[in-house]
């Protein structure tokens, strides 16, 4: 198993690419060890002193550190990630998986998955690629009766395209059969970074990896 690492704009954050699926879709942010009970991987990573926050994506793990030094943290984190994936244990517990977006009991029709596909119609005008593969969609949740809540971000706070992107996303959600209402939540936490892009989007934009 080979784990790549990528630096980020924030020197306190480092992204690990294990070369395997981390989450089936979306992102998951875990800010403290107490919240890591539903993820064996998160619990293992929080055991490394100096880890303050984790973000899991489909193919990456971004670790935020406190005042510690990457020189000491990185080997321990690489070891923890490798041990986890070699063990074959799932990233999320069954409880967590059943309550997460797109696979939850409230979404037996696969509405979240349809919404995700529909959102690929919305492109970021500057990068010229769809907002799903760019990693701008953080979460899709289907609530009772077909209410859909999408948490998304923009490539930069204050982006002049923000209102068009959120309204385009809303229109897209409402165009999906079964979606009766759409709530678009705009957030910049965690801030977007190129590491959140899918492999296809990175290849399209010629993004450097490694």
């Amino acid at each position: 198993m080979f784990i790549q690492t990528e630096t980020t704009a924030d020197p306190d954050r480092l992204t690990f690419l294990p070369g395997q699926q981390v989450l089936p879709a979306g992102t998951l942010e875990i800010t403290d060890p107490q919240a890591a009970v539903d993820s064996a991987l998160a619990a293992r990573l929080f055991e490394v002193p100096g880890v303050s926050r984790l973000v899991f994506g489909t193919d990456y793990i971004t670790v935020t550190k406190d005042a510690s030094d990457w020189q000491h943290l990185k080997p321990a984190l690489l070891g923890a990630i490798m041990e986890h994936f070699m063990s074959g244990a799932p990233v999320l517990s069954e409880t967590a998986r059943s309550s997460s977006a797109e696979t939850g009991p409230q979404d037996p029709t696969g509405l979240a998955s349809k919404v995700k596909d529909a959102l690929r119609r919305v492109i970021d005008p500057e990068l010229g690629y769809n907002i799903v593969d760019l990693g701008l969609i953080y979460d899709i949740r289907v609530l009772d009766g077909g209410a859909v809540s999408v948490t998304m971000t923009t490539t930069t706070p204050g982006c002049p395209a923000t209102s068009y992107l959120t309204e385009g996303a809303r229109d897209c959600v409402l165009s999906v059969e079964g979606a009766v209402s759409a709530e678009i939540v705009l957030t910049h936490e965690p801030p977007w970074s190129p590491e959140l892009m899918s492999g296809d989007a990175k290849a399209h934009l010629g993004i450097r990896t490694g």
């Binding site: 005008p125 395209a161 923000t162 385009g168 897209c172 165009s175 705009l186 010629g206």
Partner: protein, 451 residues
């Protein structure tokens, strides 16, 4: 967090600014003003103010009305002030040109238009300062790029104040002692506040953000960038305030200019290191034309700085200052402005036309609105002719300079056609037509739906 709206009048600023750039280039090619006339001649003052106010200041104001909100993620204080701002500045510039033409003996008038021009420019720039200032005041602490813009705005106020002092002496013939001293020796301070403070500091601040955005580079927020801000601010304060104080106390401005120059040199060197980092650390391997051409503007800045050092060493800075200022104005500031204009016009046009149908129908990319291959040759011609014109100024070889500026006119016209084609969606509508629910944007005004 907030998104920002389209600035309604930014395109109007750009159209007037490009017209002024072409006018300035035509004047130089026709042998009007520097270098065909002395630096302090009224003909040169016409040329300088057409370029500095008509082209660069309007370009920057138009861009900042759109991008100050991006820098701080807050909406612009007032969307209705930019139009009167534009009208007052254009009227003031027209009055200024008439006043200098009168002094050159080309027109006759009973009274000097200079004080009225100064009043109109003061109102126009005060409106801009009020709008930008109130917008920036909503955020504490300011981001680093916004801090550069804030310092630049203070320098704009200093530039206008010094300009008013000149107009009172030249236009109203006021013989007040302090005003006479400023009018007699304050020109370098006016130049430093305008080109070094207002225009260059704004360009530096905006470039930090735009280059990082367009190339997907990590934002520069470290100690080196802070050093650029503080060294640059201190350099400007020493040169402008120190220079003014020494001038008023009859001590001469040279020491203040030298001290400010040393710190300013250090700031520019550190800025250059930051920019190199932005290009080297970029995630996008293949960068777009605007980022490629911005690099040539940065090369022009570096060459201008080296020229200053070499000319000081040769003891020829005062003789060759015109060549240095020419390279800074047309290579660095205008080159950066044109390269970013190429992207900004396409981006704003895309938002206005396709933003409302995003998610409802397939939309082109911003890149589809431009033709980089064809535009590249005009940018290359522009920079080559600017560098050639600078060399002819140093030589000095007047005919060569005028021919090089003629090439600049051709290049600027070529780029203007590309900007207009981008704005009028000529590239995309020829290929696929306009999707339902979209309309061709107006050349001068952005009509955005409320968000």
């Amino acid at each position: 967090m907030h998104g920002t709206n389209l600035s309604r009048w930014t395109m109007s600023y750009f159209v007037v600014a490009l017209s002024a750039l072409l006018l300035g280039e035509i004047l130089m090619a026709a042998g009007y003003g520097f270098p065909s006339a002395p630096i302090r001649a009224p003909e040169t003052l016409v040329l300088v103010h057409v370029v500095a106010i008509g082209w660069l200041s309007l370009l920057l104001c138009g861009a900042l009305f759109q991008f100050v909100p991006v820098l701080i993620a807050r909406p612009l204080y007032s969307d209705s002030l930019p139009l009167p701002t534009l009208l007052f500045i254009v009227a003031g510039l027209a009055g200024l040109v008439l006043g200098f033409l009168q002094r050159a003996g080309m027109i006759e008038a009973g009274v000097s238009p200079l004080p009225y021009a100064a009043a109109s420019l003061t109102i126009g720039f005060s409106l801009a300062l009020w709008n930008f200032g109130r917008t920036l005041c909503t955020v504490r602490p300011l981001t680093l790029p916004a801090s550069f813009v804030a310092v630049a705005l203070v320098c704009l106020a200093a530039t206008v104040t010094l300009g008013v002092a000149f107009s009172l002496v030249l236009g109203l013939n006021i013989r007040h002692g302090a005003l006479l001293k400023i009018a007699g020796q304050g020109l370098p301070l006016h130049l430093i506040a305008g080109i070094g403070g207002w225009l260059t500091f704004s360009a530096i601040g905006v470039s930090y953000r735009l280059l990082a955005m367009f190339m997907l580079s990590p934002e520069c927020e470290g100690r080196r960038t802070q050093a650029v801000l503080w060294l640059g601010t201190t350099a400007l304060a020493i040169a402008i305030l120190g220079g003014l104080a020494t001038l008023l106390f009859d001590k001469g401005v040279h020491l203040a200019l030298l001290a400010g120059g040393v710190l300013g040199f250090a700031a520019v060197v550190l800025y250059g290191m930051d920019v190199l980092h932005l290009y080297r650390a970029r995630k996008r391997r293949v960068i777009e034309l605007n980022s490629q051409m911005a690099a040539l503007a940065l090369v022009s800045l570096a060459v201008a700085v080296v020229m200053v050092v070499v000319l000081i060493g040769l003891g020829q800075l005062s003789e060759q200052i015109g060549a240095v200022v020419f390279l800074l104005v047309f290579g660095w500031l205008s080159g950066l402005g044109l390269s970013q204009l190429y992207k900004i016009v396409a981006f704003l046009t895309w938002l206005e036309c396709y933003g409302p149908v995003l998610g409802k129908t397939a939309t082109p990319r911003v890149q589809d609105l431009v033709d980089e291959t064809r535009a590249r040759k005009w940018f290359v011609l522009y920079y080559l002719s600017v560098w050639a014109a600078t060399a002819f100024l140093l030589a000095p070889y007047l005919l060569g300079f005028r021919l090089a500026v003629a090439a600049m006119i051709v290049a600027t016209l070529g780029l203007t056609v590309h900007l207009a084609r981008s704005r009028l969606l000529s590239q995309v509508s020829a290929q696929s037509g306009l999707p339902e629910g979209t309309r061709r944007p107006h050349l001068l005004v952005s009509i955005a739906r409320p968000s």
